[in-house]
Amino acid sequence: MARVYKYQDNVDTDVIIPARYLNEPDPAALARHCMEDIDQGFAAAVQPGDIIVAGFNFGCGSSREHAPVAIKACGVKCVIAKSFARIFYRNAINVGFPIMECMEAAEDIEAGDSIDVDFASGVITNNTKHKTYQAEAFPEFVNQIIAAGGLLNSLKNRA
């Protein structure tokens, strides 16, 4: 059962992965410090398949791709937020990490709820509250990148 970690608006890349750890870009090393400056216990407690739920503007701040990489390396299944900062949004897609934009789900889901997500349809199911939410669909070109397994693979396929 996926556990939910819930955060507020404007979770920035400096708290997702503080700059002091950027000198070691190995995903496993980044994962050890993921969310450290907003939630000290996160990295030790998070389990594969867990979900992060947040408010507006998730991932604002620096362009560091280390942020989605760190979250992905922790085994987090996806981030559901009211909105994403544009560079984080792009980076998550480019590294093949699923994110879902959904106001209602981000508002409604609470820490501890049991959640299932279906990326193909964008449907988020809250088993605890017996509710479903519909996330924004990705533009077609984004689906192509994801289907190819990331931006560089999709470029390789074209070449």
């Binding site: 404007n10 400096d14 362009s63 560091r64 791709e65 544009r86 480019n94 560089l152």
Partner: protein, 420 residues
């Protein structure tokens, strides 16, 4: 269909007559930029994907600015990766210790960003070159890798917010106050996925350094880019820096904007952002007296000549207060030299400041001025997020250089107009 200035640049680089907001396009790039934190990741991805050639040896810039001169072994290893790649691929615009400066001051200085360009950089403040009438935006390392391989990038064409500047700014008010005020008005996601297009009679009086500062912080309200019209000041700046053709784009008179915001410079006060968001703004009157431990004057936002001159004018003949550590960092070697020639370095050192070689350093809590628990800094940088300059209990106030310098003298947040 009428287009905004940003849309026109994107259309031209996508080989299209027209684009509209929301459209997905592939644009040819004039420059792909990376630094010592983001380029190593991009290089790894580039090689992992099996690319063995860059699209151009001239249109890639690699700038080792964040942790240099290297602060520790791990940073040195990252710089070595970039150095090797630059040698192997004959990258013409590779900047290492000795020539390096903070990328967003260095790139315009070297004429690598000019009006009409389309630029991506694996650094969020790549939007700085909007000051020159270029489209430039921050992306991540994978986009950078793709850009180095193909010379192109995907964009969703942004809608735009029009920011009209009227009147004339008063003494001790700078570009920093204009952008902090704007971010305070619309919030840190107020321009998410959108362009900021600056216009109005207030623009012409702004120096290029003011414009760089304003475009630099467009990202702090979520914007994709923040762009200025090209005028005589832009052309004067570009003169002698480039042989390339300058392409001037102007928005159509009937271009659509999602909203228009007017800022009257006549009444704008020096503005600061309190912890922990750039949108948490106050006028100087509401913040003065707050206790401080450190003052930082520098960064890609405010480490240019005008910034150093404004700070030096305040510090000249005065002393940094006993309780304050004041760190001044010129953004590039050219600025460093100019500051020496103008006698500013002497002023800084005699007043009790540390004066450093160009580096990002404390701006991202890397080195050269990291804070301790519960310490407060006032800084001319662009982000005051939790833990940005030190532990999570440390606090950052953002300000313009004159306010930072006055605060160094007063020993607490101060209005330069109050100094005796």
């Amino acid at each position: 269909m009428p287009m905004t200035m940003t849309q026109k640049i994107l259309a031209a680089h996508a080989g299209l007559d027209h684009v509209t907001a929301g459209q997905m396009i592939e644009a040819k790039l004039d420059l792909v930029l990376g630094n010592d934190i983001t380029a190593p990741v991009a290089i790894k991805e580039f090689e992992k994907a099996g690319f063995d050639k860059v699209f151009s040896t001239e249109k890639i810039a690699l700038v080792l600015d964040h942790s240099t001169p290297c602060k520790d072994i791990k940073s040195a290893q990252l710089c070595a990766i970039v150095r090797d790649f630059a040698n192997q691929h004959n990258i013409q615009n590779f900047f290492d210790v000795g020539t390096v400066g903070i990328e967003h001051a260095l790139i315009p200085e070297h004429g690598l960003a000019i009006a009409g360009d389309a630029i991506i950089g694996a650094d969020s403040h790549t939007c700085t070159y909007g000051a020159l009438g270029a489209f430039s935006t921050g992306i991540g390392s994978t986009d950078m890798a793709a850009g180095m391989a193909t010379g192109t990038a995907w964009f969703k064409v942004p809608a735009a917010i029009k920011v009209v500047l009227t009147g004339k700014k008063q003494v001790y008010v700078s570009g920093k106050d204009i952008i902090l005020h704007l971010i305070g008005l619309i919030g840190v996601d107020g321009a998410l996925y959108q362009s900021l297009e600056f216009t109005g009679e207030g623009v012409s009086a702004l120096s290029m350094d003011d414009r760089f500062t304003i475009s630099n912080m467009a990202i702090e309200c979520g914007a994709k880019n923040g762009i200025f019209p090209v005028d005589e000041k832009t052309m004067a700046y570009l003169k002698g820096r480039t042989d390339r053709e300058v392409r001037v784009y102007t928005p159509d008179v009937d271009a659509e904007y999602v909203r228009t915001i007017t800022i009257n410079l006549d009444t704008l006060r020096p503005t600061v952002s309190l912890p922990h968001l750039p949108s948490n703004t106050r006028t100087i009157d509401q913040a003065k007296g707050m206790p401080l431990n450190q003052v930082v004057i520098g960064s890609c936002t405010n480490g240019r000549m005008q910034d150093l001159r404004e700070a030096a004018a305040i510090l000249n003949g005065r002393k940094v207060a006993k309780n304050i550590r004041c760190i001044v960092i010129p953004a590039t070697q050219e600025i460093y030299l100019q500051a020496m020639e103008e006698g500013l370095v002497k002023i800084f050192i005699e007043s009790g400041c540390a004066f450093s070689t160009p580096t990002c350093g404390p701006c991202l809590g890397g080195h050269m001025g990291v804070l301790a628990d519960n310490e407060w800094a006032i800084s001319t940088t662009n982000r005051n997020f939790v833990g940005r300059m030190g532990p999570t209990t440390s606090m950052i106030i953002l300000s313009n250089p004159a306010v930072a310098a006055a605060s160094a003298v007063a020993g607490c947040v101060a209005d330069p107009a109050d100094l005796t």
